[in-house]
């Protein structure tokens, strides 16, 4: 699972608050969805929250 936001503070807070059991499964990245390189055909679900 990949979590991204342009706001570094929000990513930091999310990374700190995630349950320990999920930490190995989630990567946090400070970036812009319009610029990040994502592997093609790699994800089942994309969630945009207040992001478009």
């Amino acid at each position: 699972m990949l979590a991204m936001d342009m706001n570094g503070e929000k990513i930091e807070r999310a990374a700190e608050s995630i349950p320990a059991s999920l930490r190995p499964k989630v990567s946090f990245v400070v970036t812009d969805i319009a610029k990040v390189e994502l592997p093609p055909g790699a994800y089942d679900v994309a969630i945009l929250s207040h992001s478009l």
Binding site: N7, I33, A34, V36, L38, P39, P40, G41, A42, Y43, D44, V45, A46, I47, L48, S49, H50, S51, L52
Partner: protein, 152 residues
């Protein structure tokens, strides 16, 4: 548009996109106190509403071009609770949000909350859409449903 193209490309052929964004309306401001709800007014957020309408137009465009199909849509209110109007203002500043409320509304909220035990509540209408990724006609990718990017 660019973000929606990247997401389209990163999704598996049967993948889905869940989009949540506010309705293009002003969020309501309430004070909850002793089992009562006082509706005080709304947050002025013309810039946000303009951005939401532009984002929605982009989403409609890619759906109209056949990239995605809306399978389900739900509407709900997102309630944010704060112990005081001051704490909401601090939150707004910290998050970089631009919405403002009138001095009169703030004064009313402060008056109601002065006795303690109440809450300053912002009610934001949200639209949630589940969009299915569609196969692109004329794909140059042999995998089913995993086609060339529009405009590529």
């Amino acid at each position: 548009m660019h973000a929606l193209r990247r997401i389209y490309r990163s999704l598996r052929p049967e993948g889905v996109l869940l989009d949540l964004h506010p309705q293009p309306e002003h969020a309501g401001v309430e004070v909850w106190l002793g089992g009562r709800v006082e509706r005080l007014g709304h947050v002025e957020q013309e810039e946000d509403i303009r951005d939401i309408l532009e984002a929605r137009a982009r989403l409609d465009l890619v759906e109209g071009d056949g990239w995605y199909l809306t399978e389900r849509r739900r509407f709900f209110d997102l309630l944010s609770h704060f112990p005081s109007a001051e704490e909401w203002l601090e939150y707004q500043a910290r998050e970089g949000y631009t919405g403002v409320v009138s001095d009169e509304l703030l004064a009313s909220a402060n008056r109601l909350l002065a006795a303690g035990g109440g809450e300053f509540v912002v009610r934001e209408p949200i639209r949630a859409s589940l969009l299915k990724r569609l196969p692109r006609p004329g794909s140059d990718d042999p995998r089913p449903g995993f086609g060339a990017l529009p405009g590529k």
